[in-house]
Symmetry: C2
Subunit: 323 residues, 2 copies
């Protein structure tokens, strides 16, 4: 183990044991890193010993920041998330304690939007499916492959018109798609039609792209009623969080042909994917990777560093999350 | 066999035996259809009997219109292609004989452009590959999937800036890609940088999207030198024709990691795909289907009908091809 540099500010690292500390090389020259996983101690025991003077922590990946963990940290003032989503952080407890929470802002938004569009083209035009068809040697045997359907003819409903949703809409406009959206409130500067109800949005669209934040209000926002309103030809793309969709219902709707298809980067119980989906040709399955390119990770890492530096220089953080 | 309506204008159907006559239902009320495949006779024998008074023919799919076939048709004045490409039609012989050739204009361009973008996202972000990874049950076993690379950071070179190339460029601009192009001549109304040499274009780009027509000049336009200029991270997307690329070289470059990846909808010897590609994760393989959605096929069918109707009404055809 390396000698900790005790004159540097302490920084607690919260990560799942299976998750590498992506930030170690970037942080260890500037901070005295406290990493329970590296210590080998159970987290609560580690925090009992080291937690009393920790003012800032970095949550790496889905590293959970629970009320229990926060309870061990009496002077905690900053939680830095290494991604865009903060559903693994107890925001209510942070609010109560006056702890500032940051994410990486829009660092990943372009990549997620690109992926959402890619999943949609894939589902509509059967790209992954036809790749499997060719690799299985079926082209010479079975001949022509079934037709897909036209991207530009689709009416696309964006569920959550934040930075990812807006960038997705911008891309799909270039394909000729018409766009509508649902979000908490109507956005005055946006010209797309607004639906205050997701069910109404689904009833007026061919495609739903789910990219809102996961909160208590948005848990299972795509439920049975929404899927029914979307209809038999409808397509659902999820690049948000698995729990935004009632996955059990979605599987039933897909298996029974009650919706047309789905492109899913996220699932309710990752890395476990419902096995019923494995045999379906109208779905594209992806291991929670919409977010990730080296270019956006570099942006995100810089944002983590910049937020920490701002905090320890008593300046306002760059990308605070509303808690 | 149905009774032919002898008072209707004759229309010869040229199609490969494996290709259905997509147009039969649309055409048989207005034309007296002559279909060698349906007759059961060898084509040359059928044409010897029926060819002398044929003024117009429809080439369905890749149905070849050779000088030999044209030789059996002394009064032929119109060849209607059912797609955008006319490389299966002997244009020189048509020119010599003063025969008008039509294609379906831009009917398929949007679909092909959509597919080109889809293939590019797929190759860069590893979408088909990660779908295979999930379906094989590897996510819980192997954990994180390798990173892809950012679409918008790519410099894209369009080889052939016709309607497909222009629509592809328009879509990719919305992703933040920078665009350059090669075509026979610089287009005065286009602001993208122009390269008169494909090798030069490749040397200045990360991605080549091949969507020019196949002619004697463009055969193997993507050769060893072009691939070398594109470099180890380079990606090639082909939605044009298989013979635009020296496929043997492409396979070598891919297998040896001398280029970064490829998305291929077309091949030199369809439906045969080089088996060396089956095991590669940096390629996406597609059975010549970029063109096909029900929406664009409906447009194309209408264009076939409209060209025929114009011809038989002594009006100018709508979408003549330069012969």
């Amino acid at each position: 183990m390396e000698t900790p540099q005790l004159d540097l500010p302490q920084l607690l690292i919260i990560r799942p044991p299976t998750f590498p500390n992506f930030f170690k090389d970037l942080l260890r020259d500037k901070y005295h890193l406290l990493d329970p996983v590296e210590s080998g101690l159970p987290t609560h025991q580690f925090l009992k010993i080291h937690g009393h003077s920790v003012r800032a922590l970095v949550s790496v990946g889905p590293g959970p920041v629970t009320a229990e963990i926060i309870g061990y940290l009496p002077v905690l003032a900053l939680v830095v998330a290494s991604g865009a989503g903060v559903d693994h952080i107890d925001l209510a407890e942070c609010h109560r304690r006056g702890i500032v929470v940051t994410n990486v802002g829009d660092s990943f938004s372009e990549d997620v939007a690109d992926y959402a569009v890619g999943l949609l083209i894939d589902v509509l035009r059967g790209m992954s499916t036809s790749d499997r068809f060719v690799r299985a040697g079926l082209w010479p045997v079975k001949g022509n492959f079934p037709l897909g359907s036209k991207v530009g003819a689709r009416r696309v409903g964006i569920v959550g018109l934040g930075s990812i949703g807006s960038l997705t809409a911008k891309r799909l406009e270039a394909f000729g798609c018409s766009i509508a959206y649902n979000s908490r409130t109507k956005k005055p500067s946006v010209h797309y039609p607004y639906y205050s109800s997701v069910r109404e949005l689904a009833a007026n669209c061919d495609v739903l792209i789910v990219c809102c934040a996961l909160t208590n209000e948005t848990y299972h926002i795509i439920n049975k009623d929404v899927m029914k309103a979307l209809g038999k030809q409808g397509v659902i793309i999820n690049v948000g969080r698995g729990c935004l969709i009632d996955e059990k219902e979605l599987v039933q709707f897909l298996v029974q042909g009650e919706i047309g298809g789905a492109g899913l980067d996220v699932f309710e119980d990752e890395p476990n994917v419902p096995k019923e989906l494995y045999g379906l040709d109208n779905v594209v399955l992806s291991p929670h990777k919409a977010v990730a390119t080296p270019e956006s990770l570099a942006l995100a890492r810089q944002m983590v560093l910049d937020n920490l530096q701002a905090f320890f220089s008593d300046k306002p953080v760059l990308t605070p999350v509303k808690v």
